[in-house]
Subunit: 311 residues, 2 copies
Amino acid sequence: MPALIAKAREGDPRSVARLISMVENGDPALNEVAAALAKHAGDAQVVGLTGSPGVGKSTTTNELVRALRRSGRRVGVLAVDPSSPFTGGAILGDRIRMQEHTTDPGVYIRSMSSRGQLGGLSAATPQAVRVLEGAGCDVILVETVGVGQAEVEVASLADTTLVLLAPGMGDAIQAVKAGILEIADIFVVNKADRPGADATYRDIQGMLGLGERAAGDWRPQVVRATAVKGEGIDDVVAAIDKHRDWLEKTGELGRRREHRAAVEVEAIALGTLRARLADLHDGTALSDLAVRVAAGEIDPYAAAEELVKGL
Amino acid sequence: MPALIAKAREGDPRSVARLISMVENGDPALNEVAAALAKHAGDAQVVGLTGSPGVGKSTTTNELVRALRRSGRRVGVLAVDPSSPFTGGAILGDRIRMQEHTTDPGVYIRSMSSRGQLGGLSAATPQAVRVLEGAGCDVILVETVGVGQAEVEVASLADTTLVLLAPGMGDAIQAVKAGILEIADIFVVNKADRPGADATYRDIQGMLGLGERAAGDWRPQVVRATAVKGEGIDDVVAAIDKHRDWLEKTGELGRRREHRAAVEVEAIALGTLRARLADLHDGTALSDLAVRVAAGEIDPYAAAEELVKGL
């Protein structure tokens, strides 16, 4: 195990892959892995990237990887996206485009199953982030399709959240409805060479102008890009760097990471407790209570109370 | 409280509404409500109804309500569907069509928020089912949009699961991919007057033919309907009744309900434990551990272990 972690630290992609598989599969040696990785906590900047299907997430991710590599940074990509080329949903063109990075030892790309939660993050995502952090990534891009709760989840995981929009998709309005305005640190109006891009840009700027902000608060940046031509990507990187500076200067970085850690610890603790409940009375406690609930002898709240007492 | 429940038993819609609001909001008197309702457990047949947006769920629900009323049954509808007219997502026409039932005291219709889980069921849904059961409904229709995990959730809640398909939506193929074949008790090929309906019918029948079944197992029914004209709805009701007979005869009804109760009890118990974890050390235990995790002093697994020990 220490050898595996040491090799991952050196950037050996097979060791990184094995460690991520271990966290995905809930390997018994997980505690040991987690303990070894703890001291690297916070080394990487975690950037969430979300948006509706068709908005150009994969192309943008690809171009961001390229730009970050140019500045000498090691980059990890976690694609938790049913429509992503990494997870198999998209057209062959995208898949090939990303492959230019597969021979670059400074880039680690991994798809993660969303485990049935459409667009939602896998429970193992925070642990996979820790593995990439431990493996020396300077920036970790977490790409997830923006439907339902995914945006909120990715925002709670990331230091910096990018929301991609494209002209003519009604995204600006959707963004307000879905509470996206509150979670995005940076808006990228992609496909900026298309008709309607200026209108989308103005819509978002206008809506951001309506919100109240205290002095010193972060004002979400709106950046135009045409990722497919590589245009505007440097501006996106500049906005990410600017946000990082703001996070550090204000202490918000620490607050976000403590919040993230709290969510993570709570989820692991509840997983442990769930397993213990399942094991009570040689695994019969819950099913015995369920029989009584189904028969109307006891209500589910009273049954749950009895179950918890058994712990 | 006993008066409120007694009035709900008599079918007073305001009392039913108040009880459902109590379960939705996690009212402190919830335990009392649950205890009073326990003895009515199992009185109603719970029918889940799911399918992609645009497949005609609301129209079908509406027609099913009408048909069930004709046979003298009291009907409850829980619409946990972001695209449903009840929850505000759909066109005005649908909304008006359902309103014919609002003056019928034998019908209770309630929309439930899906609480950010797109298409997922609200945690309060099982309790709302219990309220409608306690209020004397013979059949409870739970309508939810079929994306991601919703189908699976609705199937675990329902005695009988209907999956709606429509011609030309590629649904038959999608159904296989998403594991729908395993959860549907009845397929309804809606919009059966449209081109391609026969092909969809044959596709589903063909795929059902491929699966192995033991003698006595339920063979999912495939029913053609054109809900907007009221056609085929009696066949759907007949299939629901046939499935109910099979459930009772084979003892599967009891097994499904015990499984459902186990899921419900576990969810309530975990909610309790989560609240206790949050309260540890005057509510500081989790945040103190999170600070140490964020600082890299302890890994999240070790932190979770420490948290659980505190219980």
